[in-house]
């Protein structure tokens, strides 16, 4: 159950946003972040949801 993806390769987002992404069935790694330093924001998630269909309905597990 450990994280295998290096920090470097992961989307920048806070735990709250990452949880929200899973609730919205969005794979956060596919979302372009427009926040400071490229952080994914709540707006980015909403935009992504409206633009693209979410790739999977299962929670986005990693590894």
């Amino acid at each position: 159950a450990t994280r295998t993806t290096p920090i470097a390769k992961r989307a920048l987002a806070t735990p709250h946003i990452r949880y929200m992404a899973r609730q919205m069935s969005i794979d956060i790694e596919q979302v372009e972040g427009t926040g400071r330093a490229g952080r994914v924001t709540e707006e980015d998630l909403k935009r992504f949801k409206h633009g693209l269909q979410a790739p999977s309905s299962r929670p986005a597990t990693e590894a």
Binding site: T2, R3, I7, A8, T14, A37, A63
Partner: protein, 470 residues
Amino acid sequence: MVVGEMLEEVEVLVIGAGPGGYVAAIRAAQLGKSVTIVDKAELGGVCLNRGCIPSKALISAAHQYESARESAFPGIESTAKLDYKKVQEWKQSVVNKMTGGVQSLMKGNKITVIDGEAFFTKPDEVRIMHENGGQRIKFEQCILATGSRPIELKSLPYGKRVLSSTEALSLDEVPERLIVVGGGYIGAELGQTFAKFGSKVTIIEGLDSILAAFDKQMVRLVEKNLKKYDVEIETKAMAKSVEETDNSVKLTYTDKSGEEKTIEADYLLVTVGRRPNTDELGLQDAGIEVGDKGLIKVDGQCRTTNPNVYAIGDIVPGAALAHKASYEGKVAAEAIAGMPSVVDYRCIPAVVFSDPEMASVGLSEDEAKKEYTSVSVGRFPYAANGRATALNQTEGFVKLIADKETGVLVGAQVVGYEASNLIAELGLAIEMSATLEDIALTIHAHPTLGEMVMEAAEVGLGSPIHIVTR
């Protein structure tokens, strides 16, 4: 199977009541599940009974004894007398308070507690052995959290004077001479603690440094303190065999030059790692696959190859730390309740309660250099911090590591007074994807140790106030 043994049905069964299991049980109950937890020993697991809590209690007492015995403050002369039996009693009272707390939490959350040892008989059934008898439980969902136990070396079998951390924590006397085989964090913490209580300690370590998982510059400060207490450290040494008598132990080992040596002591403490408790659970009968080193294979929600069984804590891969166990416990419970929780952290902190304390979170400088094209490193010394100086605690540093391109913090290390508390901000910073600038622009109170975090960020950015870097 005993005839007439009852078959009970439960919604969620948690096996093992350590920081993984009891936290999972609470979270599952909070989410409306009916929960039963079983443990073959005490509530609280290794952590509360034989690990984190008793070790930290002894460390505090040793610190108190040391600082009262030889006050480092000019103008305050003090002497101290140690009654180690009373210290042990107090330590036990701390443990009891914490485990009593867990008991109340079980009650408060209406969790059924069963005393006994569980093993699988079917994919959805366990048998539980009590002192007098047994029982069968059929579960809808199960969370396995059976933790780990000390590794026993064939060449150094445990005995009356060859101890694991468990017995060392409960000794009712301070050994005059103590040998510690294994200088990982448990060996270093306990070795230093006994040295402070007055033992003559020797640490035998196979690698080229004690606390090898940490930055060399951090470890150097701990070694310096160990020297103050006359602790001898033999690195690249190999313990060979032990001879135990009624009053002493004799350890034979080869030192770094390959020479065979023998030393005598009152006790020998062996801390060479821990092994997951997965061998006697009947996992094959439940369709639960085990991978490397006896660790159970799980997915991002801590689900094993048996879709109704989850596994967390020391029995799954990753750092064997209490806070990881608890975090996974919450994830597993939430997954059972249908929430989209996954093990999804950017970093897990690791703290050693040595003197000085060491703490680390995220990537080390070397790791970061492998992952990023370019990194910024900001280091700030305790000696240049006002609060540290006013506390007479000027050894140590804070080190921040950021991806140079984005400025995002990816790792941090702290060695020094209260490192265990300073690391909290840095863990949050990494989780929040904070940049060095975010940290530098956050006003930190004066005079506090936290100002070092702000200043280390400024060092990383190139313009620290309180040190000259040009």
